[in-house]
């Protein structure tokens, strides 16, 4: 089910889709800086960290990932893990978002994929 939250002012958006009872995809888009995170941060937390599930966060349509966006992702991933769930990230290969996640070491603690089917399979297998 799609449940979009779009902000024409900040250009950021969040949509989600439940693949199964415990496997969810959350798609983020736009520029995730202070302005871009403001309208979607709460929705992101509630969609990713509310209960034990496997969550794939699709960042392929994110044009810019600032530390405020990374902090939100890490906080939710930690909360999800504490509940028994797991998060993985989907990025465009060679993108600046991938470089940011690698350079900050986040890719060492949250799995990163470049292929959606493989990412969902890995999460499904983990669940």
């Amino acid at each position: 089910m799609a449940d979009p939250t779009d902000s024409p002012v900040t250009g950021s958006s969040i949509h989600h889709e439940d693949i199964s009872d415990d496997l969810r995809t959350v798609r983020l888009a736009g520029r995730l800086d202070m302005l871009g995170m403001e309208p979607i941060a709460l929705k992101f937390t509630s969609l990713t960290a509310s209960h034990a599930q496997q969550v794939l966060v699709d960042l392929r349509a994110v044009s810019f990932l600032a530390s405020i966006g990374i902090r939100s992702i890490v906080s939710s991933a930690r909360a999800l893990e504490a509940k028994g769930g797991r998060m993985a990230l989907l990025v465009a290969p060679g993108s600046s978002v991938e470089a940011t996640l690698t350079s900050t070491g986040i890719s060492e603690v949250i799995p990163i994929h470049t292929d959606e089917a493989q990412a969902l399979a890995a999460l499904g297998a983990a669940g």
Partner: protein, 151 residues
Amino acid sequence: MAAALPADQLHIQPDPHSLREASLWLAERCRQRSVPQELIDRLDLCLNEVLANLVDHAGPGALDTPVELLLDPGDPSGGSPVCLQVRDGGAPFDPTAAPSPTAPTVLAETGIGGLGLVMVRRFCDDMRYRRINDRNELTLCLSWPQETPGR
């Protein structure tokens, strides 16, 4: 000591909306000077993190003082880098001397503080700081890509 830069400058108020204005200004000016997109992206990230840190931590007095941005595109043939200077009226803060957080190895122990500084250090090639006239002056430089193979 940071050198004076030629005028290609913007004054902004340190707030989230102005971060976008600064980013657009940076991209436009860099493209006019044929700075490669990869360098623009890295400089954009650095500028965003420096300004976001200012908005979050510099205190109410600093938020009333415009931040001055100066861009020097350098010279790709002469080897001088693209440099961006950020001058703010916040409390003295030398990011070159601030400790780096330890690299995360386990999600449960991954901290969320200090990420911005980590990103600035990773994405710029040189970072210099000085305190001058009661203002912080931070200079971020990125080297132009080498055109000759086998550098």
